[in-house]
Amino acid sequence: MNLRIGRGEILTIIGPNGAGKTTLLRVALGLQTPTSGKVSLQSGLTIGYMPQRLHLDPTFPLTVKRLLILACKSDTTRVLPLLEEVGAAHVIDSSMQNLSGGELQRVLLARALVREPDLLVLDEPVQGVDVHGQVELYQLISRIRDQRGCAVLMVSHDLHLVMAATDQVLCLNRHICCSGTPESVTNDPAFVELFGPAAVQYMAVYVHDQNHHHDNCAICGGRNKND
């Protein structure tokens, strides 16, 4: 399989459980060596990684502030602006274990931004967040991409919301089943076969919807080029 991602681009990997989404991400991050093939990163490229989950023991006394200070190499002045950027300034003194699903994802996103990354790698960034919060998070990710001009590589198994928030989709099922813009992928027969016509129809409506309202659409912000 072959995939490339350029500056300022959002690429989303979707696919059923066991399709190899996380493996692909781990290979791209250098956490796992590929059995064959190679990963080429532009030299000097900084990666910001947002893991899928944090397994903090309840006995580990860690506040949001401390988490970010540790990541910022003790530069305390950067903590608040980072939290403001992701809309989580109010939890700065909370303990990590007391965050809600959405707050935790935002803090992890801020954590991934610490190193001013050229490439953001997000593993299921909306996991454990309600639907409303998911839309907000995808908006936030698009906004960060717009402001920072970084590339975003994310994994999702959510089919519909993410379609509105991505430039390129890569559908994976142990091989690249199809790829392209959200619109072209949803019409791809291989995609329909993988997820079933019902899911696709539901999603097609959604993408269609976005195309028609893109000027005032809160999600794509009028960036949907394929209209």
Binding site: R26, L29, G30, L31, I47, Y49, P51, L54, H55, L56, D57, T59, F60, P61, L62, T63, R66, L67, L70, A71, R111, R115
Partner: protein, 269 residues
Amino acid sequence: MIDDFLLRALLGGIGVALVAGPFGSFVVWRRLAYFGDTLSHSALLGVALGFILHINLTVGIIVICQLLAILLFFSQQQRQLASDTMLGIFAHGALSLGLVILAFMEDVRIDLVAYLFGDILAISNSDLGWVFVGGGIAVAGLLWLWKPLLAITIHEDLARVEGIPVDRINWMFLGLIALIIAVMMKVVGMLLVTALLIIPAATARRFAASPEMMAVFASLIGSLAVCVGLYGSFQWDTPTGPTIVVAACLIFMVGFLLPKEIVLRAQKS
């Protein structure tokens, strides 16, 4: 005047408790309690090794603990057995093997109870040296590894992506744990070493707002348990190691039952 042996016991006990605080905190955060138990269960093998090679018994214990730590590190790479099953096999296998080997050595008679439960009142000046030199090296090493270890405790893969040499740091950490367990044995014995690691740390949790606070509080709480335990053991003529652990448990219960306002005030201090 305080007796010489009592003073040595107090010094040794407090020294061990001070070392145990920060290490115990990491053991609790990273859920390594069973790992520590497994290392300490191998101590009798180290004693046997010491007799066979005619070397200092503490050195024998340190060597065996280090070897077992390496073995455990590799055994965690396999996926066939759950890690607690693996640890159980090593812990009980090492304990039994140690007892069997010692039984074969007919000219060796050891005080088994002293190894199992500690013999702090018989602590010698050279034992004290082990506690303070060995423990001091271990704490210095831990301070050096502190930040990367915190990063690994938060998320191992995240630390790896950001260029922290995770495997090397885990190696060094396990080596330090093996060292302090060998050193702590003298005070509370192999069966109770983990107790002195985890009980003060668990007690400190409610009062701590940061990892560093928890480590310091754990050291102080452990020292208190040593003082109370020594006093109790002297007063009622009970075995010292277990009395220290009972004292630690009592302090844990008091801390657990303290009202929330007092706890919050301690966090802000």
